[in-house]
Symmetry: C2
C-alpha cells in the first residue's frame, strides 16, 4: 500500500520521458528494486485521475508492428506538482523517520 504517494511516484516515472501504462509499471517496479509491483487496477485509474487533473497529457500511438499504446507525458502543471510532491515527501519521510527513531536524546 502506497497510500497517498502514488501520484508522486507516477509523475516521477514520467519525468525523464513519456511512457505508457505498462512501461510505467515496469519502470516503477525496477526503480524500486521490485518493492512496488503495482497492479494495473492501481495504475490506470491513477493515470486517468492525473490526466483529468491536468498533470498529464496522453496520445495514442502505434509503434511499427506493435499494439496501440497510450503514451503519457508530464504537462507543465505536472512538473510543478511533482516538485511540490517531492517536497511533501521529504517532509513526510523525515517526520516519520524521526518518530520511528525515537526523538529523545540519546544517553552518552
Amino acid at each position: 500500500m502506497l497510500k497517498g504517494h502514488l501520484d508522486a511516484i507516477v509523475l516521477a516515472a514520467l519525468e525523464a520521458e513519456p511512457a505508457h501504462g505498462y512501461g510505467i509499471i515496469a519502470t516503477i517496479k525496477q526503480g524500486s528494486g521490485n518493492t512496488f509491483d503495482l497492479p494495473e487496477g492501481t495504475v490506470y485509474p491513477a493515470l486517468h485521475r492525473l490526466e483529468e487533473a491536468g498533470l498529464l497529457s496522453s496520445a495514442w500511438t502505434t509503434p511499427q508492428g506493435g499494439r496501440r499504446r497510450r503514451m503519457y507525458s508530464l504537462t507543465r502543471a505536472g512538473s510543478a506538482a511533482l516538485a511540490s510532491r517531492r517536497d511533501a515527501w521529504g517532509r513526510f519521510s523525515q517526520a516519520v523517520d524521526s518518530l520511528l527513531r525515537g526523538s529523545r536524546t540519546w544517553p552518552a
Copy 2:
C-alpha cells in the same frame, strides 16, 4: 495523510514509556516537528484497533487531583510488530526515495 503508517507511529510513541491518548498526540506532534498534528478522531480509533489486535494494553489511572486517563503500553506482540513495521518503513521509504530521485545514472 499517513495512510498505513499510523500504527507504526503510535507504537513508536509508546516504546519509551506508557502514555495516554492526549499525551501520544502531543508526543507525535513534537517528535515530528509539528508535521503531524493528529486529530483525536484519528488517534483514538487507532489505539482501540491496536489494543483489539493485542499490540497494546490499557488501564485507567487517575493522577492526584487530575482527570481520569487511559494509559496504554506496548505488549510484547506490540514490540515485535513495531520492529517489523520499522523494517517495512525502511524498505518503503528507500523505494520511494529512489523513485523520486530518478533511478537513472547521473551524467558526469
